[in-house]
Amino acid sequence: MTTEISPEPASKTTTMTDAVTSTGSKVTRVLGALSLVSIALLLAFGLLVSPPEIAQGDSVRLFYIHVPSAIVCLYIAFSITLVGSIIYLRNQSTFWDLMAGAAAEVGVVFLGFTLVTGMLWGKPTWGTYWTWDPRLTSTAVSFVLYLGYLAVRRLDMDPVARSKRAAILGIISFANLIIIRYSVAWWRSLHQGQTLDPRDTQLDNTMLFSFVLGVLALTMTFAWLVIHRFRIAWLEHQLEAQQLELAIAERTSQGPTGLAHGGA
């Protein structure tokens, strides 16, 4: 955006690497500004301009962040994790390994938003924060599923072995996501009539516009967060490699006795 002061030249010359002191870049600054503008618009339209819904009242406003964050984490974030994991297993691409991890972490944050806003919507609509609604229940289980994935990524072990385990987990977790969603839906459909379905909501034009704004705002925010998270993961990866090099250099400098000592 024009208001941004970005001293970075666009070309990939040595001056660019000199200027890097953070995970920000021209792209993320523009993306960040656009996200902020769209979030401001979302707040204006979602909370002020759009009318309350006939049946649900004002609580329909939660949908403008609930549904978009569900879309972002389930359809974008965890799909990136799945694709990244598959590519990593095929060609050991560091980029896709780190990307899979970055998308999963931001995805879990958005899944958390989906849960919280879903429960807050349920209280005025169903009279309780928690019902054993299929989507709510399966979202809660999926949340823990991906927390497990992130826990594996944080393990203190050989980086290559860890990436491999994480990639396998990233693939199976996606399959589990689908299994959990369908089995829970099946379970509930057998024992209970359909509860008030959020998809039945009647939206007029300003409400629809608020909803589209929500999708735009949260998707751009997601992209911004993932780029930053990826760059952090890259920095950590480089640091880890550097420390390994240092350790090896130290050990070799100690000579053969040092090797014999630490080699066991």
Binding site: V20, T21, S22, G24, V109, L225, R229, R231, W234, L235
Partner: protein, 44 residues
């Protein structure tokens, strides 16, 4: 009706987003300092 649930929902979501974003930026700055400049970006 419903505002008492809408407002906390928006506060939680955008509050957490803000905290998460700031923490990412600070983490990025801190980690960048520990590496030589040519290693700070994924360029491939």
């Amino acid at each position: 009706m419903g505002w008492e649930y809408v407002v906390p929902g928006y506060l939680i979501v955008f509050g957490v987003l803000a905290i998460y974003a700031v923490s990412l930026i600070r983490r990025g700055r801190r980690l960048s300092e520990q590496l030589p400049p040519e290693k700070r970006r994924f360029l491939d």
